[in-house]
Amino acid sequence: MKLNILYFAWVRERIGHSQEAYETSAVTVADLITELMARDAGYAAAFADLSVICVAVDQELSDFAAPLSDCREVAFFPPMTGG
């Protein structure tokens, strides 16, 4: 399965890029995070504290248990600070 993964704010800064096409067989968001963290120190640092990581699956706020089947876009970012 080919995903487009987006990163925002300090998650983006730690990982070093804002988006990437990524081939994975991860079943859930949590599985995907585990895969990404194994890639390099930047990813590991970005996901070190999952209590400050939010995820959107196909642009809808979601959670780490969410399945990735049929999804095309996953985004990781810190808690939002709009307004």
Binding site: F8, A56, E60, L61, F77, M80, T81, G82, G83
Partner: protein
């Protein structure tokens, strides 16, 4: 229910004049404006990042939800991104309703959702430092106080 995400400044006075001119059955109009403040005296500027596509959908959803929950005749949300100077308006909401409590509650609700559920991230760039603004536990508590959180997270 109108929602806009833009880099450019907006003219609050002109937006409110336009908003009020299209209101026909509401006796109560409420507005909120958020402004960049330099609390430390060191802020050079603020940078706001957002998630194009998701942001617009989120603002529209919150405006529609507020409209339905509080029986608003009309709601408006404008939120900026990019580089903002101290004193510049970051965003505004406006609501119109028959009853004043609904107009107030609709605007307050919209703000609470914008704060914590719209994909914006603020970075403060000061002389010699740059830091992403941390989300406040208080903001989550205020969102939870509406008692509607389940709906919002699932939708």
């Amino acid at each position: 229910m109108s929602a806009r995400v833009q880099e450019a400044t907006f003219d609050f006075a002109a937006e409110m004049t336009a908003f009020q001119s299209t209101v026909t059955r509401s006796g109560a109009v409420v507005s909120f404006t958020g402004v960049v403040r330099d609390d430390t005296g060191n802020l050079d500027h603020m940078f706001i990042e957002h998630y194009p596509g998701m942001t617009e959908a989120a603002l529209q959803k919150f405006a529609d939800q507020a409209t339905e929950i509080f029986d608003l005749e009309k709601a408006l949300v404008i939120h900026r991104y990019g580089q903002l100077q101290p004193g510049e308006a970051i965003m505004m909401v406006a609501t119109a309703a028959r009853h004043r409590k609904d107009a107030f509650a609709g605007a307050d609700y919209l703000m609470d959702y914008l704060k914590s559920r719209a994909p914006f991230w603020k970075k403060e760039l000061s002389k010699g430092s740059a830091a992403w603004v941390a989300a406040k536990a208080q903001d989550e508590a205020e969102l939870a106080a509406w008692g509607l959180e389940g709906t919002a997270k699932e939708s």
